[in-house]
């Protein structure tokens, strides 16, 4: 057993991190997702990673770094759809009882993957009718459309594939959330060292220091859970995959949300502004917490694994 990142994984992490530092700066990220961004990520292998022989653990490490930079876009769906559908793919769970669907990133997508208990369908994005764009989506980097009637589309996978996509999507979303939680800790720590009040850095005040300590622990514990879930997905013989995944998802969603709020608090007034990045993290955290099963879904799933 060696539950530390391998040398190759450290190299992978560093490569994605430096890609994000160089190419996906705050300014670029704030312009939102576009074809050029997709092309760059595709060239790096973000979407084809597992087809190229890497495992879920490597994919998780990659998405953690993308989360750190809050890179926008239907990254998880496009990764899942690699090899099954061409181009940029967005997706959602089929709304129950004909309820209207809210869908992210429709305008840039080539296809829409729709998952339900029986399988996965693909709907070409120009085949949907009755579409309205929300003029003010929660996360300014994630455009949202309301779709009144979602066509049935073409079946591209059955029950097993649907279950696998939900697992994989949950894992990569959790990894992304962990990256966001870490970025919030780092940003808030940096600010707490630079910002002075009462003639000293605010990070020396225990009331601030303890918020930051809780943030770093929350992110690290969630990160470990995500890595354990990823390793279990690569090697299901070592443990209960569903339990590991749901646990990771619970902790990661919580870490992303609470650390964004912690960062907002540490930033003071500036944390409440449009200009600061904090709200981008918090809003994305709220949105992602609904993807591939919200916290209640995963809490119920984990609890069910305990009484078998």
């Amino acid at each position: 057993m060696n539950f530390d990142l391998s040398e190759d994984q450290v190299a992978l992490r560093d490569a994605i991190r430096s890609l994000c530092r160089g190419r996906f700066t705050g300014e670029r990220v704030r312009k939102g997702f576009d074809q050029a961004m997709f092309d760059e990520l595709a060239t790096t292998g973000v979407f084809s990673l597992r087809a190229d022989g890497f495992g879920w653990a490597d994919a998780a490490i990659t998405f953690e770094e993308l989360g750190r930079a809050v890179v926008p876009g239907p990254l998880v769906w496009t990764h899942l759809a690699h090899g099954v559908a061409e181009g940029i793919v967005t997706g959602l769970e089929r709304p129950r009882d004909g309820a209207p669907a809210l869908l992210e990133h429709l305008a840039v997508a080539d296809g829409i993957a729709v998952v339900d208990d029986d399988g996965i369908s693909l709907v070409p994005s120009d085949a949907v009718a009755g579409v309205t764009a929300l003029d003010w989506p929660l996360d300014p980097l994630t455009p949202v459309h309301r779709i009144d009637a979602l066509p049935t589309g073409e079946r591209i996978g059955g029950r097993d594939e649907a279950a696998a996509w939900r697992r994989g999507g949950g894992l990569l979303t959790a990894a992304f959330e962990v990256g966001m939680a870490q970025a919030c800790t780092e940003a808030a720590t940096g600010y707490s060292l630079a910002r002075r009040q009462f003639d000293r850095p605010i990070g020396s005040f225990q009331a601030v220091k303890h918020i930051l300590a809780d943030m770093v622990v929350r992110a690290e514990v969630a990160r470990t859970a995500v890595h354990a879930a990823a390793v279990t997905m690569d090697d299901p013989g070592i443990g209960d995959r569903e339990r590991a995944l749901s646990g990771a998802r619970l902790l990661a969603a919580e870490a992303a949300e609470k650390n964004a709020k912690g960062s907002l608090q540490v930033h003071g007034g500036i944390g409440f502004t449009w200009e600061a990045d904090v709200h981008l993290y918090l809003k994305r955290a709220w949105m992602l917490s609904t993807a591939f099963g919200n916290v209640h879904v995963h809490a119920d799933a984990l609890a069910a694994r305990l009484v078998r």
Binding site: M1, G203, A213, L302
Partner: protein, 383 residues
């Protein structure tokens, strides 16, 4: 990054399981909480059985009676003994988890051979005499004085909260040897035989209604200078060695036990919000188990356990507190009886955020050492 145990580890597991099945079936009934002579007998006899079977000090060097096994076998050992509900380390806690590792790192050859094998055989019970009435979180402010006189240190002062103080054969004792030096610089670490003249041990009753720790009064106690671990006035560094063991690994086995408790509670949890809370707690405990594996892997790799070791105790205390609260809610009026294992655990674990460095102190350490935040400004000294 992998979590698969090696074939050697699995062979060790199989062999240990077989042994545990036999050994546990012959175990006497556990003693009552307040019957200390029986508790000492029960815990040390179990330690002796582990030793005889080659399972004591799994990761200790073989030359001191340990198994000299890999850290992953240590994890297998914790997993299997806890799952099989083998006796907890109990009164052997300080000896096997604090003092032993400290002596291995800092002791003289004579100290090692005098104590390590006896600790492993269950022949010596240890206690920790660090805290004082006026030196708790600010441990370095301790005032118990030791004055060198010939081959002895003459020690006078008062210690408090010494777990197992009333049953300990030896104590880890921190004393002030240089009252003029800065507070971290004048401290010395001594091995205290608890039967020396001038020692008065008074048990303190805890919220459990039993005496889990003691006050220790020291009045001109002559401790041989040969009992000094590390150099004179270098005791703070030696102490930090001990405290790093405490933070790193000492709570892992009870964390695995908390998982067992949570899993056993599951069938009794019917309310939806309680079930979701249980899921959160289990997610945290599973993650802490994974964090332990990460710490162990990093220690094997880099020689030091990495940042996760600083975080374990804080996160564990919180998860355990949530589990305790959940138990009380699920038991409802069933919690009126303190004999229920889960009620007793709820009470016992109230001490987790206090003992071995409070959660506030843990947050200070994490903030300052891991995040590099400045210390608070010192309080102006009163003249």
């Amino acid at each position: 990054m992998d979590l698969r145990y090696s074939e050697t580890d699995e062979a060790f597991r199989a062999e240990l399981r077989t042994w545990l099945a036999g050994a546990l079936s012959e175990l006497p009934t556990p003693p009552a909480r307040d019957d200390w002579p029986a508790r000492v007998r029960y815990d040390t006899e179990w330690q002796r059985r582990l030793f005889d079977a080659g399972y004591a000090g799994i990761s200790w060097p073989a030359e001191y009676g340990g198994r000299g096994a890999s850290p992953s076998e240590q994890l297998v050992f914790l997993e299997e003994t806890t799952r099989a509900r083998a006796p907890y380390v109990g009164v052997n806690f300080v000896g096997t988890l604090h003092c032993g590792p400290t002596l291995i790192a800092e002791g003289t050859d004579a100290q090692k051979s005098a104590h390590l094998p006896r600790i492993l055989r269950g022949e010596e019970v240890w206690c920790q005499c660090f805290s004082e009435p006026d030196a708790g979180s600010d441990l370095a402010g301790l005032r118990t004085r030791a004055v060198r006189d010939g081959d002895d240190y003459v020690v006078t002062g008062q210690k408090i909260w010494c777990s197992f103080g009333h049953v300990g054969d030896f104590g880890e004792l921190l004393v002030r040897t240089d009252p003029d030096a800065a507070k971290h610089r004048g401290i010395t670490w001594l091995i205290l035989p608890m039967d020396l003249p001038g020692i008065d041990v008074r048990p303190i009753e805890t919220v459990l209604g039993s005496s889990e720790f003691c006050e220790v009064f020291l009045d001109d106690v002559r401790v041989p200078a040969a009992n000094r671990v590390g150099d004179e006035n270098d005791g703070w560094r030696v102490t930090n060695v001990t405290l790093s063991f405490e933070r790193g690994t000492a709570f892992v086995s009870e964390m695995v036990d908390a998982l067992r408790l949570a899993e056993e509670l599951a069938p009794d949890v019917h309310d939806l919000s309680d079930r979701r809370e249980l899921a959160h707690v289990v997610a945290q405990l599973d993650a802490l188990w994974a964090l332990t594996k990460r710490n162990v892997s990093q220690a094997a790799h880099d020689g030091a356990p990495g940042p996760g070791a600083f975080m374990f105790k804080l996160a564990y205390s919180e998860a355990r507190d949530r589990l305790g609260e959940l138990c009380m809610r699920v038991l409802d009026r069933g919690a009126f009886d303190i004999h229920d294992e889960r009620v007793e655990e709820r009470l016992r674990t109230l001490s987790l955020p206090i003992a071995a460095g409070t959660s506030q102190i843990q947050r200070n350490i994490i903030g300052e050492r891991l995040l590099g935040l400045p210390k608070e400004q010192p309080w102006p000294r009163s003249a």
